[in-house]
Amino acid sequence: FILMLSLTLGTMITITSNHWVTAWAGLEINTLAVIPLISKSHHPRAIEAATKYFLTQATASALMLFSSMTNAWSSGQWDITQLTNPPSCLLLTAAIAIKLGLTPFHFWFPEVLQGSSLTTALLLSTAMKFPPTTILLLTSHSLNPTLLSTMAIMSIALGGWMGLNQTQTRKILAFSSISHLGWMTIIITYNPKLTLLTFYLYSLMTTSIFLSMNSTNTLKLSTLMTSWTKAPMLNTTLMLTLLSLAGLPPLTGFLPKWLIIQELTKQEMTTTATTISMLSLLGLFFYLRLTYCSTITLPPNSSNKMKQWSIKKPVNTLTPTL
């Protein structure tokens, strides 16, 4: 499947680049390969999602190229790890924030995830976030920590708040993605390895959630309520994975949060650590609502979507236990 190959190619090009133009080229290849994937179903919502995705990602790529150009004019070299011009750093931070979906540039993300199919949404929220995070990691020593922390705290806050009123599961997962990106960004200037750890664990958990939802085809909360009849084992593991995403202690999702808070207190940023812990309680509410709907209660609900599932689930019952 050629689009998957081009996605892998683009990601590899960006990750292994030390010149700005190769990084930009890899990101462009990724964008171009993912647009047909989003708009494959020719539904009006899918086309609209593709439009919004294309516009945002294209502006972000152009901004990144411009920031690298001004940096090259002022310092004479195109190395990624040596960003010396302060306006270039600012523009680059803004460009990567647009690409990742950090606040205040997050507005495209829930709508794009809502308009794409579940597997494409999975791809968008895990694999497409990886190259911009690697660029952030490579340049993290020269970026402005105050700006990054402000954007991260706002992301966690907004991801929690705006996810409270949602009934569509893809939008809920979009907001959870935004708040997890906030957690990843807040530690990037102090300890970039924790950012990578958070990213890996987050993509693992999100993959298992998306694939579980794909097997039972739950696009709304009401469908989630009747999913226990179709695959009871999948439902219990879905509950555990959701709680792990929320960050509850005995599950794996607690580990990155714990390490991040520890690192923040070592850097004398205890108010930041308290603020983000409080704000992730908002996310906990809608994760708990999802688990409540899926596993804890078994009510007789009116919308009974008995749809056949595809046989992907046996692989997935093991991943949430990681």
């Binding site: 133009v21 930009w24 080229a25 462009e28 964008t31 171009l32 647009i35 708009s39 020719h42 539904h43 009006p44 919502r45 086309i47 609209e48 999602a49 593709a50 439009t51 919004k52 294309f54 516009l55 294209a58 502006t59 790529s61 152009a62 901004l63 190229l65 411009f66 150009m69 001004t70 090259a72 004019w73 004479g76 829930p110 709508e111 809502q114 308009g115 705006m162 949602q166 939008k171």
Partner: protein, 98 residues
């Protein structure tokens, strides 16, 4: 040389403002995107001329190739949205409200 630099910055800023404030048609957004890439291209083409280093002349060509692909994708998306939504007015793109 800072007059030339100033003209590129202003070209880029004007185009990005045009992209941010497009009001009725999607085509204007695509046009502004193209002008952004064009200003970056012309700016980059001056780099080997100023430094007298001919090994950097490949860069604008690469950028042009990728941006042409992207412009084509943008136009294809424009056509697709006109097929499904009826026109390219931006206030028609409201199927995915929060």
């Amino acid at each position: 040389m800072s007059l030339i630099h100033l003209s590129f910055y202003s070209a880029f800023t004007l185009s990005s403002l045009g992209l941010a404030f497009h009001r009725t048609h999607l085509i204007s957004a695509l046009l502004c995107l193209e002008s952004i890439i064009l200003s970056i291209y012309i700016g980059l083409s001056l780099w080997p001329v100023q430094n007298q280093a001919t090994s950097f002349t490949l860069l604008p060509v690469l950028i042009l190739a990728f941006s042409a692909c992207e412009a084509g994708t943008g136009l294809a998306i424009l056509v697709a949205s006109t097929r499904t939504h009826g026109s390219d007015h931006l206030h028609n793109l409201n199927l995915l409200q929060c």
